[in-house]
């Protein structure tokens, strides 16, 4: 059974490089609380965090206070650089 108090955080590109993992679990809460937890656990993420955009359950989320309930998925997207 999945842990019902946590969320899945998926990290890409420079964010994955900073954290050292492509996904981690964190405590449910608000978006900003989840990101604060990542910064505490992975100091290299501090520099990358302000450059990223975020998906909450596959939908763009720009509200730092958005509720991230248990079982949610967060995608951490550094600035795009295609083409």
């Amino acid at each position: 059974m999945p842990d019902t108090s946590t969320v899945d955080v998926h990290l890409f590109a420079a964010a994955r490089a900073a954290v050292g993992e492509s996904s981690v679990t964190a405590q449910a809460g608000t978006l900003t609380a989840v990101l604060d937890e990542l910064c505490e656990r992975f100091p290299s993420f501090v520099a990358v965090r302000p450059r990223c955009s975020y998906l909450l359950n596959e939908i763009a989320c720009t509200d730092a206070q958005a509720a991230v309930v248990a079982g949610s998925r967060i995608d951490v997207l550094p600035p795009f650089a295609g083409g």
Binding site: F12, A13, A14, A17, E58, F80, A81, G82, G83
Partner: protein, 156 residues
Amino acid sequence: MVLPQADLAQYANNGGMSAVRLVEVVDRPLNLEVMQAAVRDDRAGAVVTFSGDVRNHDHGKSVDRLTYEGHPSAGDVLQQVAESIAAEFDLIALAVAHRVGDLAVGDAALIAIVSSAHRDVAFAACTALVDRTKELLPVWKHQVFADGTDEWVNCA
């Protein structure tokens, strides 16, 4: 993924038949001939093709190789971008592809092709297709330089 929906809504302005013929985000070499064949149409008087290739230099440093990483939604986003351009311009056909994975210098990372009855429309649409793809496609570029250093582009 619905990330770019809000950004894209401003562009859509008609409900005509879509000109979109081919959209892909793939982990293999892009095939220009296949894409140009996909847009062939006897109604088209002007075909404009953009190829974004891996350069051997960036910020004055020599590039050895690079890797593009795509978000799982990249294919869906590129489809939305393509449809938005097709809705906005009077096109006959459109094809767009982005490569992910390991690329060498000279390899094409992005190919965008549009055709129209007239050249001004084709140039404008191809420019917009490339600009919008670069703005909205969730893809990242990791460059390794000849001096051994590396960087995530736009995130240094």
